[in-house]
Amino acid sequence: MHNSTVNGKMNFTTLYRASGYLFLLPALVLFCIYVIYPAIATLFLSFQIISPFGDRAIFVGLKNFIDLYKSVNYHNSLKITGIFVFWTVLMGLPISLLISLFLNTSLKGISFFRTVFFLPLAISPVMAGVIWVFLLNPNIGLLNYLLRVIGFVGPNWRTDPNWALPTVIMVTIWKQLGFNIIIFLAGLQNVPLDLYEAASIDGANSWKKFIRITIPMISPTILFLTITAIIQSFESFGSIDVLTSGGPANATNVLVYSLYKDAFVNFRTGYASAQAYVIFIILLLITMFQFKFMGKKVHYQ
């Protein structure tokens, strides 16, 4: 690498920046083949009606999208997804942060506790769903039993349309804890300890330290987690499939589940592809908004 001379430095920068493409190349190539190409193919599919086994297809322009726009079921799905994502993220992230704060100490045996909270992540969504199905059984499940002991009658968590959505939200938060905690921990561990010490010397209490130091220092992490939590909740599928299968009476038929059903159960490929694009656009808008809005408040060194 050349340096020192003015001209040399110019050449170096150019070479340097060009080398960036080398680093990007593998990711880019794989991405184009395995993500971009299928996504574009799907876009074409969304403008067609295709027979279940794919042998016939007719071009129908925007009919699928118009049908979605008119569909009462789809409006319902939009509403349900909104509620689901909102509560999952709004309750899930603070709870995870709280737990991470406790885990960020150097108590003895802290690694045991860290493993404990990681467990929901290690369990696949399907398994999580299965375990909870059993725990939530209205008759012989543990949860209703405990409620009965305190004197409450527990509802039919999964089959009562009023409780199905809260149940799914609860299980999803539980499931996402592991992921959120790992990331929060990594972020917390990066906060230099001397900052806290300096603040202590200045007489700050824990709460002040938290607000003035911790939060700003982990703001990149918070941004990251908010975005990913929203996206993950939007795409949350496995546990819903096992717990409620989108029901009862469409009470938990989030956008992704509706898409799955149309694509893989009803074989309405065109219609499902249109739904995929709607989800994509929604997520795109949300993420762009987040980057703009929260990006300003994020503190990098």
């Binding site: 690498m1 340096n3 340097y16 920046r17 080398s19 680093f23 990007l24 593998p26 990711a27 880019l28 794989l30 991405f31 395995y34 993500v35 971009i36 299928p38 193919a41 799907t42 406790f102 108590l107 690694s111 506790f113 493993t115 990681f118 290690a122 369990i123 696949s124 399907v126 398994m127 299965v130 375990i131 909870w132 059993f134 725990l135 012989i140 039993y145 539980w174 790992i182 990331i183 990594a186 561990q189 990066n190 230099p192 001397d194 990149p220 990251f224 975005i227 996206i231 939007f234 795409e235 898409l259 694509a263 499902a272 995929a276 989800i279 994509f280 997520l283 795109l284 993420t287 990098y300």
Partner: protein, 279 residues
């Protein structure tokens, strides 16, 4: 004297909080763990009991192991998991570095491209991806379960967020010392980023381990199937009639992922202990 008292009380409170929180989180998992040692009548007993009659009842495990080739499933999941992990680390570290430090022209747009990829619901790219795999002759191979996931936008994003926090002057100082971009990446940036890389490793491995829909679609034969498929098929079979066996199967399948975390977590902490203190 006073200070150590306060410290003790604080520690005590921390422990209490941790215990309380962890039991809520732990309960379902414990239930499954203990359930694998229960006989069928114990599982459906009312009032429900948490603890099994004895921890020596291994009938469920042997039944589960016999009913499905879990050894095979675990091996497949392991192969796919490890190679996915290595591939992801390689590719995402390089890409994140390019975005955070090198910043070639148009990087902003390429970055947005990657981020948009994160938002494409996986269910939908499945059919065209399958066709691609089939054209390449990769159906029913490990490669088919590894390659599509190597350009992991979430991974790039995560590392990018971290790499950005490394001050520019560090790199310039290194450059003045005659250190090229590649060496900088390898000898300085990566060690600094160990916590994030550790987190990414755990996530990648676990995600790969738990992946269900895609491996189901690209594998046709039992000998290629991975653990989640095995457990789901197992679930379909037992259908609630042999919950103990099913939970035993689930324990068999979850154990490796947890093991990886326990190991990875120690590294994680080690790296942090010796980690770079900035400022």
């Amino acid at each position: 004297m006073r200070y150590s008292h306060i410290k003790k009380i604080r520690n005590f409170c921390n422990y209490i909080a941790l215990f309380a929180l962890s039991s809520t989180v732990l309960l379902p998992t414990l239930f499954m763990l203990f359930g694998s040692f229960k006989e069928q009548s114990e599982v459906t007993a009312y009032p429900p009991r948490l603890l099994p009659g004895s921890f020596t009842y291994l009938g469920n495990f042997s039944a589960a192991w016999k009913r499905a080739p879990f050894g095979l499933y675990l091996t497949n999941s392991l192969i796919v998991g490890i190679f996915t992990l290595l591939g992801v680390l390689l590719i995402c570290i390089c890409a994140a570095y390019a975005f955070s430090h090198i910043k070639p022209w148009g990087a902003k747009y390429i970055f947005m491209l990657f981020m948009s990829g994160m938002m494409i619901p996986p269910q939908v790219t499945v059919v065209p991806r399958y066709m691609l795999m089939q054209k390449m002759g990769l159906i029913d191979t490990h490669a088919a379960m590894i390659i599509p996931f190597l350009a992991y936008p979430m991974g790039i994003f995560l590392l990018y967020q971290f790499f950005r926090t490394v001050p520019k002057d560090l790199e310039e100082a290194a450059r003045l010392d005659g250190c090229g971009p590649f060496r900088f990446l390898v000898s300085i940036l990566i060690p600094l980023a160990r916590p994030s890389i550790g987190a990414l490793s755990i996530l990648t491995f676990v995600n790969s381990w738990n992946r269900y829909m895609w491996p189901l679609i690209v594998t046709n034969t039992t000998k290629m199937r991975t653990a989640p498929i095995g457990i789901k098929m197992f679930l379909d079979e037992t259908e609630g009639s042999h919950l103990g066996v099913m939970m035993a199967g689930a324990v068999i399948v979850i154990a490796p992922a947890i093991l990886v975390f326990i190991i990875g977590q120690k590294q994680f902490v080690k790296a942090l202990a010796s980690g770079a203190v900035k400022g």
